[in-house]
Structures are given as C-alpha cells and as structure tokens.
C-alpha cells in the first residue's frame, strides 16, 4: 500500500534514493523521541529566548494603518531575531536534534543566504562543522551573506548546475548527504523535502503563530481576520499559519513570488502556475513543463526563487483553508520601499511580498478588521540589489 508517512492529503511522502532511507528513518525516530523530551525542550527554549531573542514582537504599525485607511495592521517581527530572520527558529531546533543524535557536521542549502547564515551560526555556537550549498547566481546576489557564513566558520560551496539557484543548492545538498551520512545532518531550511522534514521544520517554526496568537489576543482581545506571509518553500508561512488553522474565521494568505508576472515564464508562483509532481523528496505542486521537466523559475527574491512548495501548503490549498496569491517583483520592491519609509522597518525582499499584498488588501477592509503580517526577515542584505533594481550603481 502507498506510504502513509508524512502525508498531507496526497502530498508529501519520501521520494528519495534508497541510500538515504535509513537516514530519514533515524531522523524521524530521534525527532519523535526528543520532541517530547523535557530536557531537549528546555534547552531549545533556552536557546530561542536567550540566544535568538524570542519571543519576537507583534508590532502595531500605526502609521501604515493610518496611511492605508483600512484594516488595522500588526507586524510579526521575525526580522528582529538573531541572524535577522525566522530561519534561526528551525535551525536551532535541528542543530540541537542533530547534536543529540551524535552528528558532528551540518550541511544546508540556502537561497537568499538567511538559512545558510542561521545554520552557520548554530554550527559555530554548538561546535559543529558546517558546509552550505548556495547557487552561484545567489552568491552574487547575496555576496554579503556569503562572507557572513565564512566569518562564522562555515564553508560555502557555490553550485553551478542548472539555474544555479535555490533548487540546485537543494539538489547538491541532497547529493552531498548521500555521500556522507554517518556524521552529517542535512539541516533543511524549509517545510519541504522528504518526510520527516516538512513536519519537523513546521513544528520548529510554529513558534511564530503560537506567540502571535497569544500576542494579538492580549492586544486586541480577539483573533485577527487574516494572517499574511510570503511563501517560497513555505517555512515562515506555515509557522505563521499553524496555530490558526483550526480558527476558521482567520484567513490564511500565502504570497508567492510572481517575478515578472504569472502570465510570463519568469515567475516562481508555484501554487498559481504549477501542477502536481514529485521532486526533492516530496509530492506537491511544482513549476514544470508538460514532460515533468522542472521549470527554471525566476523571482527578484533569492529566497522565494524555488519551483516547488511545501506539501502542507499544497494540502491547505487543496482543501481551501489557505489562499495563495501572486505578488510581482515590482509590487515587492514598492512594498520594500514603503515599509522602510513609513515604519522605519526595512523588510527582506522575501517578506516584502507579504507586505505588498497587505498594501492591496488593507484599504479594501473596514477599520475594525485586523491583519497580521509576518516580516520574516530584515532587508539589509537586499539594499544593494534593490538600489540596482532602481538603477543606482551600488555595489556591496
């Protein structure tokens, strides 16, 4: 019978080489044990609170609310975490788990570099060796993050295969894992890949909605009308949605990178333009051609520039629980500038996709409505690229 492990409806599963099967089984067993282990949870909470700086703020964006003239806007400030994004939530969990499993080495893929920096950080803190795979194209777009990872003691390997972006970095990290399993944990950065990764990463990121739900109840005495987050693989989005899934009145809105538009080939909006397929260990939606060849997707955002989406998002889409909307490069850049100017918060270009949709949605809603937008990361890393997008000749 069909493998029921790690399924979200028809999505998920474990489509990986036989060489890795015992590794993912071992990981699953370890996770099932440690997730209920009080000592593990105490150590992780300690790291999240005293190292990463949790809980993160739920900030009322008063000026933005007033300016848009509609729904009340709150920002969940994952950009304030140590290393500058939500990625640290998952990385601290996985690195600690890997350490408990006796692993001495972490490998990771990275797109924008945020997951790579977070993994390099955890490796430095926990005395582990670390190798990060990054598409060569992205090492150029995010040169500063490459330096950061090296500064933290990690090795960065530029990946030149395929489109030299995030999907190729994932492929190369998987290849590396099949080469060296005994002492190495693959610290996957998003809610994707083979089971148990989508579940593990979701659980470690669920801290975002666990906090924001409490924070909004405290601030407003009620739940928000919508939660908005950007979606590449979908880790900050699933973390932002998770504790609201059973709250039927809360709209869950994932913002996909449409690149130059979903009617062009230069897009990475998987749910909007992809179809069901099997890739990178999972069944889910993928941008692909009629023969199942994975499409060379495009987005200005290196972190959303991925042809697939996590299986739980594919499922939330299927059952109509979450909505996935496309946001173009132009809209994201406008939102990047808008939030900087209006609230003095420079969001990551990834997070700017979520902000961009809120700019459209908020004015259409009454003033008694509440939106929570996850600012998944800070935008310092993007400043040079956005300046260039606007025609300024700035280099890092």
């Amino acid at each position: 019978m069909t493998n029921s492990k790690g399924r979200f409806g028809v999505h998920g599963g474990q489509y990986i080489p036989e060489t890795l099967m015992n590794a993912v089984t071992e990981l699953e067993k370890a996770y099932e044990y440690y997730k209920n282990d009080s000592e593990f949870n105490r150590e992780l909470t300690e790291l999240l609170n005293n190292y990463a700086g949790r809980p993160s703020l739920l900030y009322y964006a008063q000026k933005m609310t007033k300016d848009l003239g509609g729904a009340k806007i709150y920002l969940k400030r994952e950009d304030l975490n140590h290393t500058g994004s939500h990625k640290i939530n998952n990385v601290l969990g996985q690195a600690l788990l890997a350490k408990k499993m006796g692993k001495k080495r972490l490998i990771a893929e990275t797109g924008a570099g945020q997951h790579g920096v977070a993994t390099a950080t955890a490796a430095a803190l926990l005395d582990m060796e670390c190798v990060v795979f990054m598409g060569e194209e992205d090492t150029k777009r995010q040169a500063l993050n490459v330096y950061r990872m090296r500064l933290l003691g990690s090795k960065v390997i530029p990946v030149t295969t395929g489109t030299a972006t995030l999907k190729d970095a994932v492929s190369e990290a998987m290849r590396e894992w099949t080469t060296r399993i005994d002492d190495t944990h693959y610290c996957l950065g998003s809610v994707m890949g083979p089971h148990p990764f989508p579940t593990i990463v979701r659980d470690f990121q669920a801290v975002i909605s666990r906090e924001s739900r409490e924070q909004i109840l405290k601030a407003e005495g009620r739940l928000p009308d919508a939660v908005i987050a950007c979606v590449g693989g979908g880790s900050n989005a699933i973390g932002s949605f998770y504790h609201y899934i059973n709250d039927e009145g809360v709209r869950l809105i994932g913002c996909e990178a449409a690149g130059r538009g979903i009617d062009t080939f230069e897009t990475a909006a998987t749910v909007n333009t992809g179809r069901l397929g099997i890739f990178h260990g999972m069944k889910s939606y993928f941008c692909q051609d009629e023969y199942g060849q994975i499409a060379p997707v495009y987005s200005i955002s290196a972190g959303l520039d991925y042809p697939g989406v996590g299986p739980e998002h594919a499922y939330l889409h299927d059952i109509g629980r979450a909505e996935y909307v496309p946001v173009t490069d132009d809209e994201a850049v406008n939102a990047f500038e808008y939030l900087s100017r209006t609230e003095g918060i420079i969001p990551a270009i990834e997070s700017a996709h979520a902000v961009a949709y809120a700019l459209k949605l908020a004015p259409t809603l009454n003033k008694d409505k509440i939106l929570v937008i996850t600012v998944s990361g800070r935008g310092d890393k993007d400043c040079a690229a956005i300046a260039r997008y606007r025609g300024e000749n700035i280099y890092e």
Partner: protein, 257 residues
C-alpha cells in the same frame, strides 16, 4: 519469466547505460546497436530529467545535453519503437519519478509495453513509495527494478523479497560517477539478497575498469556502467558509437571470464 531475468541465465551480465538524446537520438541508436553487437546483455536507457539528484557531474552533463537537444519522453518512445525493429536484448528505462508521474503512470507503462521496454528504474522511488508505480508496471508486464544501497542494512531482506527483474546494488555512497576503488562489501549484501530471493543482482555506481567489473561479477550476477560510457559520448559526440562498442566488448569479456 521476464526477459530481464532470462538475460541472467547464461552467465554474468554486462549492463551499459546511455542517456537518450545525448547528443541526439541518431547517435543513441548507433550506440545501442554497437552495445548489443559487442555483448551487452541488457541496456539501460536514460530518459533525461532537468534535475537528476542521484547523478554525479558526468551524467548530469548528459541530461543537460540531451534536453538542450530537444529530446522528450514522446520522442524517446518513438525511438524505442524503431530500435525494436532489430534490437533484441532487454531494454530498461532509467529516469526520475516526475518524468513518469507527469506523463501519467498508466500511460507511461502502457507505452513501455507497446514499444518493447522491459523494465523501469526510478532512483528516487524507494521501497516505501514503489506501490504507486509497481502495481501499474506489473499490469503491463514491466519489471520495476529495486535498488539496494550500502546503507540499506536491515532493509535488504524486505526489498529483495519484492524485487522484480534484477536488483540494482548501489556499490558506494553518493551519486553516480567513476571511482578509483569500491570499498563496500558487496558480498555481504548479495548473501542477504540470496537468502531472500532468486532474483539476480547486478552492481552499479563507480565501475569503469574491466578489473572492477570482473571483481563485482565475482560476487554478484552482473555489472552496470554509466559514467564511463557517458564520458566517451562527451568526448566523441556523434562519432562515439565505435568507441563505446570497443569499450563494451572489453567489459563484457572481463565479466565473462
């Protein structure tokens, strides 16, 4: 008995691999015929995939060249139909889950039967996920080939019991590619396989030299070679057929000793 199993009845087998359409299908056709003429017992035909995660740089390169040349799954089926006018030895497709899934598994397996394909290898479909593919393959008489890796340990018996055609033993950790030495104890794996099935087993990944092929077939039933052949395609392009033929002959002679 399937044609694949029959191919193992007359001694040790040699299984060469080639990516269809690298650099074009005319060349692939010439190479396949040279392989058969020079003693190949079964041929693995790769349907290229944009992101072949189980492959090393050499076969990745072949996938890129083939796709750049415009080859598609439909063109490959037409090509196999023509090959079957004279090529008699078993032919096995090696590709990735999404190529089959996206074509529609039922439609894919039916066309395999209609064009004369004997088996399918999908390196990203492990035991736990094979049901979806194997049930339909069986319906059309296509062997679904299982893989066993150096890290399979307690999984070997379970995989062997449900194996069809032949078992593909992955010689080493990592991806496909030429290796100077193979350190896995293949004999130990084969022993467990034999205790659980009479399905033959062939070893692949990392084999390039006649002496390696000989050593591998001393402990198993066959040797599979991919990257070393793709290197000849890389080097000689459209003129590769005679070079591949000569290489296949050497390798077949080595495994037959």
């Amino acid at each position: 008995m399937s044609n694949i199993k029959k191919a193992f009845e007359n001694g040790k087998v040699f299984i060469p691999f080639i990516t269809c359409g690298d650099p074009d299908l005319d060349t692939t056709a010439k190479v396949v015929r040279e392989m058969e003429k020079n003693g190949a017992d079964i041929i693995e035909l790769g349907i290229p995939f944009s992101d072949p995660t189980a492959e090393g740089p050499v076969i990745q390169g072949a996938n890129i060249r083939a796709l750049a040349g415009g080859v598609t799954t439909d063109k490959i089926f037409e090509f196999v139909s023509k090959l079957r006018e004279d090529v008699k030895i078993p032919l096995v497709f090696m590709t990735y889950a999404n190529v089959v899934f996206s074509y529609d598994i039922e439609r894919f397996m039916k066309r395999c039967r209609d064009t004369g394909i004997d088996g399918v290898i999908l390196p990203d479909v492990p035991f736990e996920e094979k049901e979806e593919f194997q049930t339909i393959a069986k319906k059309y008489g296509i062997d679904f080939i299982s893989l066993i890796a150096p890290t399979s340990f307690d999984r070997i018996a379970m995989i062997a019991k449900e194996a069809e055609g032949f078992i593909y033993i992955v010689s080493s950790l990592g991806v496909t590619g030429v290796r100077s030495e193979i350190t896995t104890n293949i004999g130990d794996i084969v022993k467990v396989v034999r205790e659980n099935t009479d399905t033959p087993c062939a070893v692949g990944f990392g084999i390039s030299k006649p002496e390696q092929a000989k050593a591998m077939t001393e402990v198993s039933d066959g040797a599979i070679v991919g990257s070393a052949i793709i290197r000849l395609l890389e080097k000689y392009g459209k003129e590769a057929a005679p070079y591949v033929g000569e290489y296949v002959k050497q390798m077949k002679d080595a495994v037959s000793v």
